[in-house]
């Protein structure tokens, strides 16, 4: 589904990604771990098409199609979803209005008509229930004054509404309390199928107890330096990153 080959990317002439190789197939869950500033969020941004990052070398394709030059909204229409590490506030735009706009814009891109209001409301109710979101919450301005955990849960709510093919969850677990983490993980698991894939960016092994990854990758200084199975996450939890650095030397 997602193929990344020797990907280099920079921002303001600063190289951040320095040769990433990653293949994600439908039905798989990949976890990416790594120290602060190693380039995890940058990778997520590059995959989803944030303009300020320039791909300087390598290839990025989704479903067999080169997406490296594609507008972010087009990638979204193809099914790429990013749960932001730092979700953005949009004052005066309610969660409902935002997601409604997003859904209809996605439908428009596929040549479909707007979703009928009744269907939309039903879908909203269903997904809000799945993630145990209070309906009152949905009429608040998007992310404005939301607590850290509320923001993250709202990201997953949007994911649930949009049903992407590839979901990249950038530190969605940070800021969630233990109960919320279970609810969100449970939501993600319910949405998982053989047709879609998930990339989990996280610092904590705990999340991986709930959403079990097929692969764990360690990203350091813009490169994937080690890949393994979920056991690798335990090892990292226990030993930190230094031993990998030493291994590399």
């Amino acid at each position: 589904m997602l193929q990344i080959k020797n990907l280099h990317a920079s921002v303001e002439d600063k190289d951040i990604l320095k040769g990433i190789n990653l293949n994600v197939n439908a039905g798989e869950v990949h976890a990416i771990m790594g120290p602060n500033g190693s380039g995890k969020s940058t990778l997520a941004s590059v995959i989803s098409g944030k303009e300020e990052f320039e791909i300087t070398r390598g290839a990025l394709s989704f479903e067999g199609e080169d997406i490296s030059e594609m507008d972010p909204e087009e990638r979204a229409h193809k099914g790429v979803f990013l749960s932001f590490q730092y979700p953005v506030e949009i004052p005066g735009v309610s969660v409902t209005n935002f997601i409604k706009t997003a859904i209809n814009e996605n439908r428009k891109a596929k040549g479909q008509d707007d979703m009928p209001a009744a269907e939309m409301l039903k879908l909203i109710k269903e997904k809000a229930d799945l993630l145990e979101i209070d309906r009152k919450f949905l009429s608040r301005s998007l992310n404005e004054g939301f607590s850290g955990g509320e923001k993250k849960r709202n990201e997953i709510f949007q994911m649930a509404m949009l049903e992407p093919r590839l979901a990249i969850l950038d530190e969605t677990d940070s800021g969630l309390d233990i109960d919320a983490l279970k609810i969100v993980a449970n939501g993600v698991n319910k949405l998982k199928s053989n047709d879609n894939a998930v990339i989990l960016i996280t610092h904590y092994q705990r999340l991986l107890d709930y959403i079990v990854p097929d692969f764990v990758h360690v990203l350091m200084d813009g490169k994937i330096v080690k890949s393994g199975t979920k056991e690798l996450a335990y090892e990292l939890e226990e030993k930190g990153y230094d031993w990998i650095k030493e291994e590399l030397v």
């Binding site: 303009e51 972010p72 909204e73 949009i90 005066g92 735009v93 706009t101």
Partner: protein, 486 residues
């Protein structure tokens, strides 16, 4: 001068229908007539004569003209433009007769596209673009039913030229009572040469059963560049009045100087909403309408006046809908969205003059600037010595798009009573790339994202508009900002 659609009354329509001549358009019998350029006493007299006005009206105009001659154009506003040559303007143009076009096919496709996107009906599109219209029975019956309902309640709603003749006692009493002839340069000019406008009187205790808008929209074309509006809400009455149109008005008259006076007597309420979309000029900053408007209302005891405006058009806007809170416990409100793009300049805001006790005012102003435009809020809150316990809340928010535009706030406060409570909040924000990327990532393209963000920003004001117009106004904001982000 561009020919404009004339005014027509229901009677005209009926007559046309009876004689089955409507397929030729409404006004085949009236010849277009335009005065030569220039302004002097003779021209003022001639305007008054053309309109068959009574002597007192002629005198009133002449008095205004005398004041105007002594006045100079104000320069304090934060706008820069080449001053109009007042002797190079023609001050009278009879409603023109013939439609400009025979069919919509001849109209600028860009204009039509905008109409379509605003959801304006075909018939209305034709009227607005100046295309010959077939009268459908439907619109006639709607208009007549409308007039009948108003008539039954004793509501007077007619062109001001008609009111001058039919209801001289009301006009004489109230015209110039809120905006005196010598109030300011443009008000004086308007008083001398006003072309036409609307008059509305709601009798004691009557609640006007409908938004005074449908009718107005049908008749709004052809009121000319010096429009005069007078709305009187008698004791305990209520009216919601909507002026303007979301459809772009491609008027080639460069100068527009309107005056609106509102009178809310004891316990009355007037809600006055405006959507202004005059031609803003080209992307290069050439052309466009200068819009210098004086709008003011007076509130007697327990009365309330609420101004809501969505300003997206004009090259230069100079406009401060104001409330004189004369009566005790009276309330003034001002809700405004002003959008400027390209080279537009807007200097707009309000004045809340608290004279009575326990008077309250609320000001919510939202400015959106894009391109190279300049958007200024200018507001005065004045609490006079007798206005015990007066309260004001002001909030001025500016939203900037890009680095070449400007937002400015000039709040003036004059409090002469110690019990006054005045709160002022101001924010300036920028549409961030992060916000846009967030929307993009969800499948929302940049143009739509901007519309969404701007609508969110303007929500408190949009919510104050009558429903039917809120939706159009939202689309209008979207269209006004098109191409503002590269």
């Amino acid at each position: 001068m561009k020919k404009k659609m004339g005014k027509f009354t229901e009677d005209d329509l009926k007559k046309e229908l009876e004689t089955k001549e409507y397929e030729y358009g409404f006004y085949t019998d009236i010849e277009s007539e335009t005065f030569p350029i220039g302004l002097n006493e003779g021209v003022v007299r001639a305007i008054s004569k053309k309109k068959e006005e009574p002597e007192w009206m002629t005198e009133w105009r002449l008095e205004a003209f005398k004041h105007w001659k002594e006045m100079v154009e104000p320069e304090w506003a934060n706008v820069h433009y080449e001053k109009p040559d007042f002797q190079a303007i023609s001050y009278y143009s009879a409603p023109s007769t013939k439609p400009k076009y025979d069919s919509l096919d001849e109209v600028d496709p860009e204009l039509l596209d905008t109409f379509k996107r605003l959801g304006i009906s075909l018939d209305e599109q034709k009227k607005l673009a100046g295309v010959a219209v077939d009268i459908v029975m439907d619109s006639v019956s709607v208009a007549t039913t409308f007039k009948k309902t108003l008539g039954e309640k004793g509501i007077i709603f007619c062109p001001i030229s008609e009111a001058i003749k039919e209801h001289p006692e009301l006009v004489k009493k109230y015209i110039g009572s809120v905006v005196p002839q010598r109030d300011n340069f443009y008000a004086a000019l308007n008083s001398a040469v006003f072309s036409d406008g609307s008059f509305c009187y709601i009798p004691k205790g009557v609640r006007c059963p409908m938004e005074l808008s449908t009718y107005f929209r049908i008749n709004q074309a052809g009121t000319g560049q010096f429009e005069r509006t007078l709305v009187i809400a008698d004791e305990g009455s209520y009216v919601s009045y909507l002026e303007g149109c979301t459809a772009p008005s491609r008027d080639e008259n460069q100068l527009h100087a309107a005056v609106v006076e509102l009178i809310a007597l004891d316990n009355a309420e007037i809600k006055y909403s405006t959507v202004q979309n005059w031609y803003p000029g080209g992307k290069d900053g050439k052309g466009g309408v200068f819009n210098f408007v004086t709008k003011r209302g007076i509130c007697e005891k327990n009365a309330k006046i609420s101004w809501t405006q969505v300003e997206t058009g004009s090259a230069v806007t100079w406009k401060y809908p104001s409330c004189i809170l004369k009566g005790d416990n009276s309330i003034g409100e001002f809700y405004s969205i002003a959008v400027t793009n390209n080279f537009q300049q807007a200097d707009t805001g309000t004045k809340m003059i608290h004279l009575g006790k326990n008077t309250r005012s609320t000001i919510i102003s939202k400015g959106v600037s894009a391109g190279q435009s300049q958007n200024s809020y200018r507001g005065l809150v004045k609490i006079s010595p007798n206005a015990d316990n007066a309260r004001n809340f002001s909030q001025c928010d500016s939203l900037l798009m890009g680095n070449n535009c400007g937002a400015h706030t000039f709040p003036y406060i004059e409090a002469k009573n110690k019990t006054a409570q005045i709160e002022h909040e101001a924010t300036t924000s920028k549409i961030g790339e992060d916000q846009i990327f967030y929307c993009n990532q969800r499948g929302i393209n940049t143009e739509k994202a901007i519309a969404l963000i701007v609508n969110g920003f303007s929500k408190e004001v949009l919510n104050k508009l009558p429903m039917e117009f809120a939706v159009e106004a939202q689309k209008l904001l979207e269209i006004s900002l098109e191409g503002s982000v590269g």
